[in-house]
C-alpha cells in the first residue's frame, strides 16, 4: 500500500525586541549565566509580569505578514508544569484567546506552489536553559533566556512531504527575517520547530495517529526527521502494528527518534487566564498602522523582480534571501543604474566575494547606495570594470565613497584624448615588432597592442575609447603614409 505523509509544524521564534517580555532586562543571546535576569524573569516570590507592548507590535506584524486575523482582545494564560528551566513553574502563554488567527503561507515546492494554512499565532515567554556538567558535575540552570519573547506559529496539518515541510519552514523564516521581528538564527535556537507527523493511505481523508518531535533546530533535521518518522510508521503498519500517539525525541546524529512519553503520560497543563495581566487590546487603528509599516515580503518582491524587472528567477531568489541583501539591491537600483548591471554587480561580484570570504551582507562597511554609485561610475565609463572590482574590494575592507576611492586609488578612467594618445604612443614606440606585424595585416597584433596601450594607461583606460583611439592612431597613420 502506498502512504502519504501528513505533517504540521509548531514553529517557535524568539522576537528581537530590545527588552524581555515582562521586564526591562536586555533581550540578547548568551551572556554569563544568570547575568541577564531580575526578580521578574527569575520568578522570585512576589514579582509580577508587565507586558512589553513591543512584543504585541511584533506579533501583530508577524500575523499580518502571514495573513492572519488579529484578535481585538486576546488573553494571556498560565501553562502549568514543573521543570527547572521554568522558575515560576508555569509558562505565560496564550491558550483560548490567541492574538492571531487563521492565516496562511504560500510555499514553493517541486510540485508547484502550495498554500499552507496557519491555525494561530500566539505570544509566550521562553524558558531558561539547563547546563549539564558545564561547571563540574551535575546540572545547573541558566535563567538568562527566561522571559525572552516568543511567538508560536501553529500550522494546519497541510504538509505532504518532508520537502514541503522544510520549504514551509524556510518560507516562515524568510518572512520573519524580512519583517525584522526575529533573528531567526536556528543555531542559536531563536527559531525551532515541533513537528507532528502521521501517515495515511493515499486517497484517505481521515488523519492517521500522529507523533510529535520537539525542538528541531535545523531545516535538515526537520526534513530528515519527517522522512525517518514516516518510514518508521510505515514499517509499523506494514507489520500489522499500530502507531502510538506519543512525543518522540529526534536524535539528529543517529538519524533516528525514540519514544519519550505516551499519550497517557501527556501533561495536563491546567491552563487558566493569567490573573497578573490584563487582556491585550489591539485596535483597528493599531492594526492599520502596523500593516502600513510592513515591508514588501520576499515572495512578492521575487514576483516583482521576475515579472516587472525581468530578472532571472535564480537571481531573484538570491537577491531576496535576506532583508539585508534585498535592501541592498533596492538601494543599488535607487542610484538609477540599469537592472542588468545592478544584478551582475550584486550577484556575481558582491555575492561571489561574500561566498568566498564567508561574510554576510548584513555586516559590510558600506551600503547599497555605495555599490550603486560604483555601478553608475562603470556605466558612465568613469571607472572601467577592472578598476571597479578593485574599488569594490576596498569597499568591502574599509568602506568609503566609490568616487573618492577611485580618485585616491588613481583609478579614474583615462578617457581624454590626450591621456589616451600618450598611452598609445608609448605602446607603439615600445612594440615596433607588433606594429610591423599589424602593418603586414596581423589582426592578432591589434589585440596585443591594445593590451600594451591599456598597460601604459595603468589599466584605467575605458576599453571602448582606447580601442577606437588605437584604431585611429594605427589606421590614420597608415592612411597618412599611403
Amino acid at each position: 500500500m502506498s502512504y502519504e505523509i501528513v505533517c504540521g509544524l509548531e514553529i517557535h521564534a524568539e522576537l528581537s525586541t530590545a527588552t524581555k517580555i515582562w521586564c526591562g532586562c536586555e533581550n540578547a543571546f548568551g551572556g554569563e549565566p544568570n547575568t541577564r535576569c531580575c526578580p521578574v524573569c527569575t520568578g522570585l516570590p512576589g514579582a509580577l509580569p508587565v507586558l512589553n507592548r513591543r512584543v504585541v507590535e511584533f506579533a501583530v506584524k508577524a500575523g499580518l505578514a502571514m495573513h492572519c486575523e488579529i484578535a481585538p482582545r486576546s488573553v494571556m494564560a498560565r501553562k502549568n508544569y514543573f521543570y527547572p528551566d521554568m522558575p515560576k513553574a508555569y509558562q505565560i502563554s496564550q491558550f483560548e484567546k490567541p492574538m492571531c488567527i487563521g492565516g496562511y503561507v504560500d510555499v514553493e515546492t517541486s510540485q508547484g506552489p502550495r498554500r499552507i494554512r496557519i491555525t494561530r499565532i500566539h505570544i509566550e515567554e521562553d524558558a531558561g536553559k539547563l547546563l549539564h556538567d558545564a561547571y563540574g558535575t551535575g546540572t545547573l540552570v541558566d535563567l538568562n533566556r527566561c522571559g525572552v519573547p516568543l511567538i508560536e506559529i501553529v500550522g494546519e496539518p497541510d504538509l505532504r512531504s518532508s520537502e514541503e515541510t522544510k520549504n514551509y519552514m524556510e518560507a516562515v523564516r524568510e518572512i520573519l527575517e524580512a519583517i525584522a521581528v526575529s533573528d531567526v538564527k536556528m543555531q542559536e535556537g531563536s527559531m525551532r520547530a515541533d513537528v507532528n507527523v502521521s501517515i495515511r493511505p493515499v486517497g484517505e481523508t481521515a488523519l492517521g495517529t500522529r507523533t510529535e518531535m520537539k525542538n528541531l533546530n535545523s531545516f535538515r533535521a526537520v526534513q530528515r526527521a519527517v522522512d525517518a518518522e514516516a518510514k518508521r510508521q510505515e514499517a509499523l503498519l506494514a507489520a500489522g502494528k499500530k502507531v502510538v500517539q506519543e512525543t518522540r525525541q529526534w536524535d539528529d546524529n543517529r538519524g533516528e527518534s525514540r519514544g519519550m512519553r505516551g499519550k497517557e503520560d501527556a501533561q495536563d497543563y491546567r491552563y487558566f487566564p493569567e490573573p497578573d495581566l490584563l487582556p491585550i487590546l489591539v485596535t483597528p487603528e493599531d492594526v492599520a498602522r502596523i500593516a502600513a509599516e510592513l515591508p514588501e515580503l520576499p515572495a512578492a518582491r521575487r514576483a516583482r523582480y521576475v515579472g516587472t524587472l525581468g530578472i532571472a528567477p535564480a537571481d531573484a531568489e538570491l537577491l531576496t534571501r535576506s532583508r539585508a541583501e534585498a535592501g541592498m539591491f533596492e538601494d543599488v537600483l535607487a542610484q538609477g543604474v540599469g537592472v542588468r548591471a545592478a544584478v551582475t554587480w550584486m550577484v556575481v561580484e558582491l555575492f561571489g566575494r561574500l561566498n568566498t570570504t564567508g561574510r554576510s551582507a548584513a555586516d559590510l562597511p558600506f551600503g547599497g547606495a555605495d555599490l550603486g554609485r560604483l555601478v553608475a561610475l562603470v556605466e558612465a565609463a568613469k571607472v572601467n570594470p577592472g578598476s571597479a572590482r578593485r574599488i569594490l574590494a576596498e569597499l568591502m575592507e574599509k568602506g568609503g565613497e566609490p568616487g573618492r576611492l577611485a580618485e585616491s586609488m588613481g583609478l579614474m578612467a583615462v578617457s581624454d584624448a590626450g591621456g589616451l594618445s600618450v598611452a598609445i604612443a608609448t605602446a607603439l614606440a615600445q612594440n615596433a615588432t607588433a606594429l610591423a606585424d599589424y602593418r603586414s595585416g596581423s589582426a592578432k597584433a591589434f589585440g596585443f597592442l591594445m593590451g600594451q596601450a591599456m598597460k601604459a594607461a595603468g589599466g584605467r583606460a575605458d576599453p571602448k575609447l582606447l580601442s577606437a583611439a588605437l584604431r585611429e592612431a594605427l589606421d590614420g597613420a597608415g592612411n597618412g603614409e599611403a
Binding site: G43, P45, G46, V50, F82, R270, F272, D276, L277, L278
Partner: protein, 504 residues
Amino acid sequence: MNRSEGPEDLCRIDALALAGLLKLREVSSVEATRAFLDRIARYDGTVGAFLHVRTEDALKDAESAQRTLDAAASGGPEAPAFCGVPVALKDNLSTKGIPTTCASKMLEGYLPPYDATAVERVKASGAVVLGKLNMDEFAMGSSNENSSVKPVRNPWDATRVPGGSSGGSAAAAAAGFAAFTLGSDTGGSIRLPAAFCGVVGLKPTYGSVSRYGLVAFASSLDQIGPLTRSVADAESVFGLLAGRDPHDATSVDRPATASATRGVKGLRVGIPREFLTDAVQPEVRDTVRRAAAWLSAEGATCVECALPAVDYWIPAYYVVSSAEASSNLARFDGVRYGHRAGTYDSIASMYSRSRSEGFGAEVKRRILLGTFVLSAGYHDAYYGSAQKARAHIRAGFEGVFRDHDVLLSPVAPQTAFRLGEKSGDPLQMYLQDICTVGASLAGIPALSVPAGFDGEGLPIGLQLTGPAFSENVLFAAAGCIERSAGCLGRFPDLDRAVASAKGA
C-alpha cells in the same frame, strides 16, 4: 500628650499622633522605636506577632529618620508623612535583605533582593521598619494557627486566636507593637483579624495598591492594606500606598472621588439580611443594629436589604483562590531558594520531597484542591463555574449599590474563638470568611472597624463595604462608628494576656 507620659503611651497613640509628636520633636524616633522594641521584647513572647525583629537595624533607621526630622526643624526640606514612625510588615511582603518567609518552612532562609512597592512606599514615608509579622502560612487560614513557626495569640485574651491570615499584623497593631502594620487580604485576611483584635483594617479596591512584591496567594484577589488603631490612620496609610505602579499591570490610579465626604449625612446604608441570621452571635447582631442607629443619628438612612448570590461566595472563593494558589505556589520547588529536601534521587523526587517537607497541611490541602479544580475533565465544572459565579456575585453587588452607598455587616459570625477550637475542622474554619469573601471576589473595598465588645470583653468588628474606589465613603462611615462606639483608646491588658497564656 506631653513628655510627662511614659514611653508606653507612645505605643498606644495612633500613628498620625506619633508622627505629629516626632515632627514637633516632642519625642525622638529613637525613643519611640526603643519604646516599641521594649514592648515587643516584654510581651511578644506571649503574643507571637513577630517572626523577625530588626532590633539593631531599626534603631539605626530611627537615627537616620531623626536626622531628617532635625533637619526639617531647622529649616531643611519637610520630613515625609511618617518620618521616624515605627511600623511592622506582614511576612509575605518582600523586604530587601530582611527575611521573608510567609511563615513557611518552605521559605526558610530566603532573603529577597528587592522591596515590594508597598514596602518602598512605606519606607519613602519615612517609617522605620521594626520587623516582619507572623501569619498563616502563605496567608492561608482564618486563625493564624497555620503558621509553621508559632500561632499568634489574641492580645485581648491569649487563649484565643487573633484571626487570620494577617494575625500578626492585627495583634501587633492591637498590642501596641507598632504604630501601624501592613497586612494582606485575599478573602478577609485583613478584616477578620482586625475585627478579632479590635483594630481598623482596610482591604482596598482591587488594583488600588500595587501587589508587586506581595508573595502571591490568589493573584486576582490579593490586596495589601493597613491595620491601624484609628480610622484616620487607615485613611492616611491607604493614601500613601495607593496609586498605579508600573511593576503591577493590574494596578490603577485611584479615580478622584467626587468629594472627600467627611460626614455620613444622606448616606444610604444597606444592611444585608443574609448576615443577620441566627447563625450570627447575638451580640454581633446587636452591634450591627447599634451602629445603624449611630449612622442614622448623624444623618444616614439605614435599611435592611437583600444581597443576592451570597450562597455562592464561599464555594466560588475556595475554587478560585485555591486554583490560583496551586499555580502561584508551584514555584516553591527547592531549585533556587528556600527549603530543599536533604536527599532525593531524581528531579521529580527533589520536587516532591522538598514540597512535602516544606509546606504545611493547609497549604497542601489548597494546592491539591486547586490542582483538582483546574484538571482536565473537571476544569469547566469547577473553575469554569466559579468564574461564572464570580461574575454573578459582582453583578449582585452592582445591583445592590444602585440603591445603597455602603453595606454594613458583621465581619465574622462571632468574636475571636479559642485556639484549637476550629483547627480540626477546615470547613468550620472556611466559614469564618462567610461575610468577607464577597468583596474580595467583586474586587470592591471593605473595611473592618471596631464597634464594641462582647460579654467576654472581646472586640466586635463591623464591616463596611462599598463600590469600587469608594474608600472615602467607607472612612466616613467608619469614622462615625469609631466616634460613637467609644472603642478608641481602649487597649488590651497585656499583663493579663501573659498570665492567661500561662494558665492556658
